[in-house]
């Protein structure tokens, strides 16, 4: 929904680093709907095809690093990127199906809208 700030950082040589928890969905909506009792039918999907944010980052002038496998983020890799002293995006694929630890939110939604 946002992200063009990466181009601003590249423009001003600010070596910020972004990490995308790439779950290919609007996770709060997806899990919120599924966690209600009874679950809310998905209707208009809250999932979408996984975007390649590493490439998006490269297009905006940053270093793009894509990590698809668990364990792929290591101190060595991070050090290599930091040494470049440029803005960078780590696009890391995660398992979006795992329920996030936000049980209290579900309780509240159920209480007020259930």
């Amino acid at each position: 929904m946002t992200g063009l700030e990466v181009a601003t950082a590249a423009d001003y040589d600010v070596p910020a680093i972004w990490i995308v928890f790439n779950n290919a969905m609007h996770g709060m909506i997806y899990h919120g709907m599924r966690s209600l009792s009874p679950p809310c039918p998905e209707g208009i999907s809250s999932r979408f095809k996984r975007v390649d944010f590493a490439k998006v980052g490269e297009g905006l002038g940053a270093i793009g690093v894509k990590i698809e496998k668990p364990g792929g983020l290591t101190p060595e890799l991070v050090q290599d990127v930091i040494k470049e002293n440029r803005p960078a995006i780590f696009d890391i694929w995660i398992d979006g199906e795992i329920l996030p630890p936000f049980g209290s939110r579900i309780k509240l939604i159920d209480k007020h809208f259930g």
């Binding site: 700030e5 910020a16 996770g27 630890p101 939110r105």
Partner: protein
Amino acid sequence: MDVLIAVGVGFGEMTTGGWDKKMLPAKHLIHIEIDPEKIGRNYPTSVGVVGDAKIVLNELAYAVKRKAGIGIAEKVLKRPFDSSDIDSFKATHISVEPDPENTGTLYHPRDLVRDIQKSFPEDTAYFVEIGTVMAWAIRYMVIDKPDSFFVPLGFGGMGYSTAACVGGKLARQIVRWYRCPETAVF
């Protein structure tokens, strides 16, 4: 718990288990906070003190000295702080290991949070977006340094952190440059 003194907290939904009543002390909540709008917003407050945490706590210490007399105050204020409860809580928090049942081909978000903290330098400042990532970060990150963790929990403004980290990085560079102009990369 009879009395709770809260310093620099907003009692938001994510950090109170959805405004759980268990957070409420039996008698008094004393809330020290720089943002006056946060006082009394989520829990009834007996005493609200608006101000910078460091200044207010120093003033409180002076007030104790004035009221109780220097002898008693010194004894109370210099008492070594017993952090064993906090230490044991931190230890269980840090010791979260990968779930052996998670044999998936994708990162478990909790394991990713752990790998991020293992891989990035200790002085990293984290700006966390609103969304499920915030739930994972609040639950599993170990944040024990000032100015190292930012989440826009006030209005939950999505997109804040994506932009704020640029300003944060720039601010760090400027501070470093002021302290040591010769070595800073700018």
